[in-house]
C-alpha cells in the first residue's frame, strides 16, 4: 500500500487538481519559511539592536558592590561580562570644578553597541575607539564648557590626575531622561579604584553587564531573583526610544507571514474543491470494484501525507533560498551581521503545512465515505449545508490555529475569525441579493445580458467559492499594504525633519526672555519652554509612598524625588486615555500622570497623591492619565499639575529647540558659536546636544522601513502567483460552455462582451466587499495591535477596487484567451 500510494501520488501530482494543491502548498510554505526565517533572524538582530540600548543583553544592578558569585556564575555559563559603577563626584581643572555623573567601566564595556567619541570638540565623532584606557578619561562636551578645558588637558578626579583624552558624544546605554543629570565622565575601572573613588561611594550603582545565550541569561536571572538588592534589567524593560517601533515591526512581520498562509489557503481551497469532485467519481469507481473503504481511506491518507511532506520539504527548501536573499538584504540595510538561520522556523513551517493539509484537505476526502457507488452511474445530489459545514469548519479552525501560532494572541485571532466570517457573510448576502435581482430580469434585456445572467445563475456555487478565495487573497494584501502605509506614516510623524535636537536645563525664570532673544538670533526652530519643580511623593492614597506597591519601580522612585510641570493644555504629543483634563477654575491640586508610569504604580483617576515641596505638603487628586509619546524628543513629564495649583512653587525652566547648524560640518563654526554663546552668557544653563541620538533613532526607523518594504513586496509577489492559480482554476467547465455556445452559432463578439461583463461584475463585488472588510480589519489591527493612528486610505481602496474589477477579467482572459478563438471541436475533445 505504501508503494502504491507513493506511485499514485507521483502519477497524480504531475497534473490535475492534486498538482494545484501541491503548488499552492509549496508556495505558501516557501513564503512562510522565508518570511518567518528572515524575520526570526531580523528579530534577533533587532533584539541585538535593543540590547545596544542597554549595552548588554541583560544587566544586574545594585546599590552595593555585586557579589563576585554572579560574575563567576556568568563565566561558568559562558556569558560575556563587563562591569560599570556609576556615581557622582567632583572634577577639578585649574580653579574650576564641576559635579559629574562619573562612570567607571571595565575594558569590555560596552558588550552591545559602541561608544562614540571624538578627539575634537563640537564634533559628532565616530565609534572607532573603545573606552578610555588607564590614565585617560572621556567627558561630554558640556563638562568641557563648564570647566573651560579642551582635549589633552589634565583633570583632577579624586586624588589622581587624568588626561582628558576624547569628547564622549554617545554612550549606548545613556538613558532617555536628561533633566537633573550632571555631565558624564567616563574612566576605567582600574583608575577609579586607584583614585579611591569606589570606596567612599554610598550612592553608587554597580552594574554587571551580561551578553550571551538566552538560556544562560535566564539561569542567571533566576539566581538573582531571590536577591532583594539586585535588580535585573532586560532590553524589553529598558526605557528605549523606538521600542514601540521594534515591536510594531514584529507584529507587522507576523501579519505578513499570516497573510501568506491565507493566500495559500485560498488557492488550496479551490484546488481541493476540484480534487474532491474528481475523487468522488474515483471513490465510486473503487467501491463498485469492491475495494474496501478502509483501503481507500488508507490510500487517500498516505497520498495526502506524501503530498504534504514533499510540498513542505520543497517549500522549505525554496523558502531557505529566498530567506537567504531577503536576509542578505536586511543585513546590508541594518548594517549588522544577522545571527544564523535557526531550525525552529523550519519546524514551524512543517507543522503549519501539516495543519493546512489536515484542515483543508482531509475533511473533504473523509466525506467521500458516504459516497454511494451509484454515483458512478449517475450524478449525485449536491452537498447539504450540514455537510458543507463539516467540510469547511475544520479549514476555518486550522486557519485560526495557525493565526494564533503566528500572533500568540487569542483576542486578535478571534477578531480575525470575526472579520473572515463577516466577509463571507457579506459576500454570500451580496451574491444572493444580486442573483435574486438578476433572476427576475433573466428574460429581459439584450442577448449579451441574458448570457451573463444565465451564466451567473448557473455557476453560483462555483462563483461563490471563487469569490471567497479571491477576496481572501485580496484582503490579505490590502491588510498588509494598509498597515504598511499607516506604520510608515506614523514613523515619519515621529521623527520629522526638525525634531528638536537640543535640550536646555537649569534655565532660571529671569533668564527665559534674554535666552529666547539669543536663540532667535540663531534662527532656532520649535523652541519650547516648560516649567519644572522638584517634589517628593510622600503619600499615595493615604499610604506612605514607599509602602504603596513596593515592588513597582517607576522612574524617580529610587531617588524619592520627581519633577513636576504644569500647563493649561494637553501637550501636543500626549493623548488623554482616561479621566478629564484640568478643570480651569479650580485652585485644588489636580494631577495628570503619564499612563505607563501610573500603570506601574497601579494608579487611576480618582486616586490621591501627596507631594512634599520644601517644608509643606500638598494633597491632590489624579484627574487624568495621558499616553506620552516618549519617542518624540519633546519635553515630556510623567507628572503634570494644573497651573493654578503651582503658582507659589519654586521652579526653573527646561527647554528644547531644533537648530540645523549643529552637527553639520559646513557650519561647525556656527555650532561652536551658539553653544559657546549660551555657556558664556548663561553659565548655569546646561545644553544637551541630542543630534547623535536623533540620528541613530532616525537610522533605525529607516532600516525598519526597508525591512518592512522588502517583506511586503515579497509577499505581494507570492500573492500574485497564488491569485493567478486561484483565478484560472475551474476554467475547464467555462471553456466547454463557451465551445458549446460557439457550436450553437453565438458570435464571437457577443461571447466576448458577455464574458467581460460577467467577470467585471464578479470583480466589482469582490473589490467593494473586500475593500470595506479591509478597512474594518485594518482599523482594528492599527488601534489594538500596533497602537498607531488609523487613516482612511482612499488610494489603496481604489487600487483594490480597480485591481479586482479589472484584474479578475484580465487574469481570466490571460488564461482563457485561446478559448473563444480556438475551434470549438478541439475544446470539446479536450474536455
Amino acid at each position: 500500500m505504501l508503494w502504491l500510494s507513493l506511485r499514485q501520488s507521483w502519477r497524480e501530482s504531475r497534473a490535475g487538481p492534486l498538482a494545484g494543491i501541491f503548488w499552492a502548498l509549496v508556495i505558501t510554505i516557501a513564503v512562510l519559511t522565508a518570511v518567518n526565517s528572515a524575520s526570526d533572524r531580523a528579530r534577533q538582530a533587532l533584539t541585538l539592536a535593543a540590547s545596544e540600548l542597554l549595552a548588554a543583553d541583560m544587566v544586574l544592578s545594585s546599590r552595593q558592590p555585586l557579589a563576585e558569585l554572579y560574575r563567576q556564575q556568568a563565566e561558568t555559563l559562558g556569558l560575556q561580562t563587563a562591569a560599570t559603577v556609576s556615581f557622582n563626584t567632583v572634577v577639578f581643572a585649574g580653579d574650576k570644578s564641576s559635579l559629574v555623573a562619573a562612570k567607571a567601566v571595565t575594558a569590555d564595556y560596552p558588550l552591545r553597541g559602541r561608544l562614540r567619541s571624538s578627539a575634537q570638540q563640537y564634533d559628532s565623532g565616530d565609534n572607532s575607539h573603545p573606552g578610555p584606557g588607564n590614565g585617560a578619561v572621556w567627558a561630554e562636551q558640556r563638562l568641557l564648557e563648564q570647566l573651560g578645558t579642551a582635549p589633552g588637558d589634565l583633570l583632577q578626579v579624586g586624588d589622581q590626575q587624568y588626561r582628558l583624552d576624547r569628547v564622549l558624544t554617545l554612550e549606548p546605554d545613556r538613558s532617555g531622561g536628561f533633566a537633573g543629570l550632571s555631565p558624564r565622565l567616563l574612566l576605567s575601572m582600574d583608575d577609579a579604584r586607584q583614585a579611591g573613588l569606589l570606596r567612599s561611594q554610598s550612592r553608587a550603582t554597580w552594574r554587571l553587564l551580561l551578553a550571551g545565550p538566552p538560556a544562560a541569561l535566564q539561569q542567571l536571572a533566576e539566581l538573582a531573583a531571590d536577591d532583594a538588592e539586585v535588580r535585573v534589567t532586560t532590553p524589553q524593560q529598558a526605557q528605549a526610544q523606538s521600542a514601540d517601533a521594534i515591536s510594531q515591526t514584529r507584529s507587522f512581520l507576523s501579519i505578513a507571514a499570516l497573510s501568506a498562509v491565507f493566500l495559500g489557503a485560498a488557492g488550496m481551497l479551490l484546488a481541493m474543491q476540484q480534487y474532491q469532485q474528481r475523487e468522488q467519481l474515483n471513490v465510486a469507481l473503487w467501491r463498485s470494484f469492491g475495494v474496501p473503504w478502509s483501503r481507500i481511506r488508507l490510500l487517500m491518507l498516505l497520498r495526502l501525507l506524501w503530498l504534504t511532506t514533499v510540498a513542505a520539504a520543497g517549500g522549505i527548501a525554496i523558502g531557505i533560498a529566498l530567506q537567504a536573499l531577503l536576509s542578505a538584504q536586511l543585513a546590508a540595510l541594518m548594517q549588522v551581521s544577522l545571527p544564523p538561520l535557526r531550525v525552529l522556523p523550519l519546524i514551524t513551517s512543517f507543522v503549519i503545512a501539516a495543519t493546512l493539509a489536515a484542515g483543508l484537505c482531509l475533511p473533504p476526502l473523509l466525506q467521500l465515505r458516504g459516497q454511494s457507488p451509484m454515483r458512478i452511474l449517475r450524478a449525485a445530489p449536491g452537498l447539504r449545508w450540514q455537510q458543507l459545514l463539516l467540510r469547511y469548519m475544520p479549514a476555518l479552525i486550522s486557519l485560526l490555529l495557525i493565526a494564533w501560532w503566528q500572533l500568540r494572541d487569542w483576542q486578535l485571532t478571534l477578531w480575525i475569525l470575526l472579520i473572515l466570517l463577516l466577509l463571507l457573510l457579506a459576500m454570500s448576502l451580496a451574491a444572493t441579493l444580486l442573483l435574486q435581482w438578476l433572476g427576475r430580469r433573466q428574460h429581459a434585456g439584450s442577448p449579451v445580458w441574458r448570457l451573463v445572467i444565465s451564466s451567473l445563475l448557473r455557476h453560483r456555487h462555483g462563483n461563490a467559492l471563487h469569490m471567497a478565495a479571491i477576496s481572501l487573497a485580496l484582503l490579505a494584501l490590502l491588510l498588509l499594504g494598509w498597515l504598511r502605509n499607516d506604520l510608515l506614516q506614523q514613523w515619519q510623524n515621529t521623527l520629522q525633519p526638525g525634531t528638536p535636537n537640543h535640550f536646555l536645563i537649569n534655565v532660571q525664570p529671569t533668564q527665559r526672555e534674554p535666552l529666547q532673544a539669543l536663540l532667535q538670533q540663531y534662527e532656532v526652530e520649535k523652541l519650547e519652554f516648560g516649567p519644572m519643580a522638584v517634589a517628593r511623593i510622600s503619600r499615595i492614597n493615604g499610604v506612605p509612598a514607599a509602602q504603596w506597591r513596593p515592588q513597582a519601580d517607576p522612574p524617580g522612585r529610587r531617588d524619592g524625588t520627581v519633577n513636576l510641570s504644569w500647563r493649561d493644555t494637553l501637550p501636543e504629543t500626549n493623548r488623554l486615555v482616561s479621566g478629564e483634563w484640568f478643570a480651569p477654575d479650580s485652585d485644588q491640586l489636580q494631577i495628570s500622570l503619564a499612563s505607563d508610569w501610573a500603570n506601574e504604580l497601579d494608579l487611576a483617576p480618582g486616586d490621591s497623591m501627596t507631594f512634599s515641596v520644601g517644608n509643606e505638603t500638598r494633597q491632590g487628586i489624579i484627574t487624568s492619565l495621558r499616553e506620552v509619546d516618549w519617542d518624540s524628543f519633546r519635553i515630556n513629564f510623567f507628572i503634570l499639575i494644573n497651573p493654578a495649583a503651582a503658582s507659589d512653587l519654586d521652579y526653573q525652566y527646561v527647554a528644547n529647540f531644533y537648530w540645523s547648524g549643529s552637527g553639520n560640518p559646513a557650519q561647525t563654526a556656527g555650532a561652536d558659536h551658539l553653544l559657546r554663546a549660551i555657556s558664556s552668557e548663561f553659565p548655569n544653563i546646561t545644553v544637551f546636544d541630542t543630534n547623535a541620538l536623533v540620528a541613530r533613532v532616525n537610522d533605525l526607523f529607516q532600516q525598519l522601513t526597508r525591512a518592512l518594504d522588502s517583506l511586503f513586496w515579497f509577499t505581494l509577489a507570492a500573492a500574485v502567483v497564488v491569485m493567478l492559480i486561484t483565478v484560472q482554476s475551474g476554467q475547464q467547465i467555462r471553456r466547454r460552455e463557451t465551445a458549446l455556445l460557439r457550436c450553437m452559432g453565438v458570435d464571437r463578439g457577443t461571447l466576448y462582451r458577455a464574458w467581460w461583463l460577467e467577470q467585471t461584475l464578479i470583480g466589482c463585488i469582490i473589490g467593494v466587499l473586500t475593500a470595506l472588510t479591509a478597512a474594518l480589519a485594518t482599523w482594528w489591527v492599527s488601534s489594538h495591535l500596533l497602537e498607531i493612528d488609523w487613516q482612511w486610505q482612499w488610494p489603496l481602496l481604489l487600487t483594490a477596487l480597480l485591481s479586482a474589477a479589472l484584474g479578475v477579467p484580465l487574469v481570466n482572459a490571460l488564461f482563457s484567451r485561446g478559448v473563444i478563438n480556438t475551434a470549438p471541436m478541439r475544446i470539446l475533445q479536450m474536455a
Binding site: 490535475g16 463498485s288 470494484f289 469492491g290 473503504w293 457507488p373 458512478i376 452511474l377 449517475r378
Partner: protein, 252 residues
C-alpha cells in the same frame, strides 16, 4: 460451454438451487444473479416516483442478459440494484447466492471484490493515469496477486500493448473503452455489468468493442448483464428483456 445455457423466464424463476440461504462456497452456484419481485421508487408522498415494479429475473453462470428500454425507463437503476451499488425499495436480490438486502455497503463491496467487473458508457478512466496504470490500480487496490502481469495480459488481449504508457486524453474513444474493457476483465470476474458500453462511440468503434466484449465474455466464461438501447447489440445476448413502464417484458 455455458454460452448455450438459457435463462429461465420470469414464470420459471423459482429454481430450487437459488435459495437465499445457500452459502457462497468455493464452487460457484450455477445461478450467479437472481432477482425476485424487486420494486424501486424514489421520493416520498405525492412526489414518489416508481421506477421499477415487480422485477424478477435470473442469470446463470456464463449466460448473458441484455436489458433495453427507452431513455429514463430505469435501465441504469436496475443495473445499479443488480450490482449491489444501491438497495432496492422492496424485493429480493441475490448475487453469488448471497442476499444483498442483508448486507451493508461494505459487505456488498466485499462480495463484488474480484468477482464483478464494470464497463461504463463514459469509460471512467482516470485522466492522470496511463492506460496501464488505469488497469493496474483496481487490481492493486483489491490486493490481487501478480497484478502487473494480469494488467499487461488484459491490455494485450484488447490490442493495446503498444499504448501502455498513453494517457486517456491521448487515446481515441474506442481505445479508451478498450482500456476500460481490459480493466473490467483483468481480474477475471465471474460477472460483468456493462452500461451502454458503445453509447459514446461511433459505429465502427462500437462494433469493435462489441466483438471484443463478447469474445472476452466467452473466453473467460463470464456472466454478463448488458444495459443498452441498441437492439443489434442486445441480439448478441442469450436473453433480452425490455423495460417498459418499470416492468420487464421478455423479448424472446
Amino acid at each position: 460451454m455455458n454460452m448455450q445455457q438459457r435463462l429461465s423466464d420470469q414464470h420459471r424463476v423459482a429454481d430450487a438451487d437459488t435459495s437465499a440461504s445457500a452459502p457462497a462456497t468455493q464452487q460457484m452456484p450455477s445461478v450467479v444473479l437472481a432477482c425476485r419481485n424487486v420494486s424501486h421508487s424514489v421520493g416520498d408522498g405525492a412526489d414518489q416516483l416508481h421506477i421499477l415494479r415487480d422485477i424478477s429475473l435470473e442469470l446463470k453462470s456464463g449466460a448473458s442478459l441484455a436489458i433495453t428500454g427507452a431513455s429514463g425507463s430505469g435501465k441504469t437503476t436496475l443495473l445499479g440494484l443488480l450490482a449491489g451499488l444501491d438497495v432496492a425499495s422492496s424485493g429480493h436480490i441475490e448475487m453469488f447466492g448471497q442476499s444483498l438486502q442483508h448486507l451493508d455497503e461494505e459487505q456488498r463491496a466485499a462480495l463484488r471484490r474480484n468477482q464483478v467487473g464494470f464497463v461504463f458508457q463514459s469509460f471512467h478512466l482516470i485522466p492522470t493515469l496511463t492506460a496501464l496504470d488505469n488497469v493496474l490500480l483496481p487490481l492493486e487496490l483489491t490486493a490481487q496477486a501478480s497484478a502487473r502481469k494480469l494488467a499487461l495480459d488484459a491490455l494485450e488481449r484488447v490490442g493495446l500493448s503498444a499504448r501502455l504508457r498513453h494517457y486517456p486524453g491521448k487515446l481515441s474513444g474506442g481505445e479508451q473503452q478498450r482500456v476500460a474493457l481490459a480493466r473490467a476483465f483483468a481480474g477475471n470476474p465471474q460477472l460483468l455489468f456493462a452500461d451502454e458500453p458503445t453509447g459514446n462511440l461511433d459505429h465502427v468503434s462500437g462494433q469493435r468493442i462489441i466483438e471484443l466484449l463478447f469474445e472476452l465474455n466467452s473466453a473467460k466464461a463470464t456472466s454478463l448483464v448488458l444495459v443498452t438501447h441498441d437492439l443489434q447489440l442486445a441480439s448478441h445476448c442469450d436473453r433480452h428483456a425490455r423495460l417498459e413502464q418499470g416492468r420487464l417484458v421478455w423479448q424472446d
